[in-house]
């Protein structure tokens, strides 16, 4: 009978370390709720802008009436003029995003945006290949459908908790995606080590990936040729990336690391552009809303205590710095430390 609580306790310790939400997990709830509300509105504002900028690309992709392999969200459009379909769903998507920005409490606008975004992103899928730049956007929009209906109108404590829980679920899902990406790299890396073959932990690993990509797509990214020539310089960067991605899910449960991981992951996406010309603008915006401006951020982004909270290696820093006591985490600050975006 005690197995389940023990397992739960062990999982909490593994994921949260010393930086758990503590004995007063709901301290500062109103402030966290206010910041989460702001960030949700910023999400829909950015969505409006992004979808409007994306409309010409979608339009042009089907202007020559290509033979589509209809992805399932667009099955209903078989036999219809595809240019009309694409224009209608993309303008509807941008409109729903604008309406959700205007009235984020209205579930109809949020659900409409999520559904039409799913269809818009299915257009490139129907043209032969998935564009993974939209996946996070789709899933965040889906989770935000479940925000409590009464939010914004003198919400009670339960509504605030529900709102923060939904926002936290969005953070957790995005960080899980990064952990999945890191897990594959670690898995293939350890498998190659086990077989005694060159792989992800080899000094040239990132250099091989960059050279393969540049030769494959005939590109010359700003840093690509340099890092192929001196690929040993990229080695610590690649091993560090695998660590950052692999442990990302634990960061969801360590609020003092939210902003730091947000910036690190933004630096990673900036790096993929400089090294491979692969841009993920939606991911960067999502990291800003969810992590850099996290409503749950505790204390300053960078401090000695933050090092103690690092997954896996935090204990090493603690020993090196001679602190045997668990680190106390301050409640969510009432000042400017939570990196709130300005009021809308």
């Amino acid at each position: 009978m005690t197995a389940l609580p023990n397992l739960t306790r062990a999982l909490r310790a593994l994921l949260g370390g010393d930086d758990r939400f503590g004995a007063k997990p709901f301290a500062g709830l109103t402030r966290a709720y206010d910041i989460a509300c702001q960030n949700v509105r910023y999400f829909y504002l950015a969505s409006t802008l992004y979808v409007w900028l994306f409309i010409p690309t979608l339009h042009n992709s089907v202007i020559h009436n290509p033979p589509l392999e209809h992805a399932w969200p667009l099955i209903w459009a078989k036999g219809l003029p595809i240019l009309v379909v694409v224009d209608v769903i993309s303008i509807a998507c941008a409109t729903f995003a604008a309406l959700a920005f205007w009235k984020p409490a209205n579930v109809l606008w949020r659900a409409g945006f999520s559904l039409t975004l799913l269809m818009c992103a299915a257009v490139p899928v129907s043209l032969g290949g998935v564009n993974h730049g939209y996946h996070e956007w789709i899933w965040i929009s889906f989770i935000l459908i479940f925000l409590p209906a009464q939010s914004g109108i003198q919400p009670d404590r339960a509504a605030k908790l529900s709102y923060c829980l939904t926002f936290g679920a969005a953070q957790g899902l995005i960080l899980l995606f990064y952990t999945m990406a890191g897990s594959w790299k670690a898995l293939y890396g350890f498998a190659a080590l086990f077989r005694g073959e060159p792989g992800n932990f080899s000094p040239d690993a990132l250099g091989w990936t960059l050279a393969d990509r540049m030769a494959q797509t005939n590109t010359e990214p700003l840093l690509g040729p340099f890092l192929v020539e001196y690929s040993i310089l990229a080695w610590p960067m690649f091993v560090g990336l695998i660590f950052v991605q692999l442990v990302a899910i634990a960061v969801a449960f360590r609020p003092s690391l939210h902003a730091l991981w947000g910036w690190i992951l933004i630096a990673f996406h900036t790096g993929t552009f400089l090294m491979m010309e692969i841009a993920f603008p939606t991911h960067i915006a999502i990291l800003l809303f969810l992590l850099v401006a996290s409503p749950f951020q505790r204390g300053p982004m960078l401090s000695w205590e933050t090092l103690h909270h690092l997954p896996v290696i935090g204990g090493i820093f603690k020993r090196l710095m001679g602190s045997a006591q668990p680190v106390s985490t301050p409640p969510i600050s009432k000042g400017g430390e939570a990196h709130a975006l300005p009021n809308l």
Partner: protein, 137 residues
């Protein structure tokens, strides 16, 4: 869980579920499916080149549209599994959409094996196995 399950036959994933395996495997020996172009509008090229080496001829090559390489992967898989319906569907997209600027194109779908540094620096492929030769007319 859905993202980690095998996708439907002929698909690389179950949209919008994704297992997030992106650039997961680095090695000094890479195998990749290529579309090798031999002639455009009836004029043979000086030497056969990859689709992406023709940015002046094809807008998708100029834009480094990654969907093309995913489509070539899908076509190579369909050839290997003798999936005639998928072969035709992928060819339709390749020829009518990605190669729409040319009225006729002779091309091969091939599996190339190479060292990434050798291919990038010298253009050298260690082996090329042609899976099929097609023409857009």
């Amino acid at each position: 869980m859905v993202a980690l399950m095998p996708p439907p036959a002929g698909s690389s994933e179950t949209y919008p579920f994704f297992n997030w395996s992106l650039f997961s495997h680095s090695s000094d020996s890479v195998t990749d499916a290529l579309a090798i172009i031999h002639s455009i509008d009836g004029k043979p090229l000086a030497e056969p080149v990859s689709f992406y080496d023709l940015p002046e001829e094809f807008a998708a090559a100029g834009a480094r549209d990654a969907r093309f390489m995913k489509l070539v992967d899908k076509l190579a898989h369909a050839i290997n599994t003798k999936d005639d319906a998928q072969i035709q569907s992928s060819r339709d997209l390749i020829e009518q959409h990605f190669m729409r600027e040319a009225s006729s194109v002779e091309y091969e779908i091939a599996i190339a094996r190479f060292h990434p540094f050798e291919r990038y620096k010298e253009g050298k492929l260690r082996s090329v196995e042609v899976l099929g030769r097609y023409s857009k007319k």
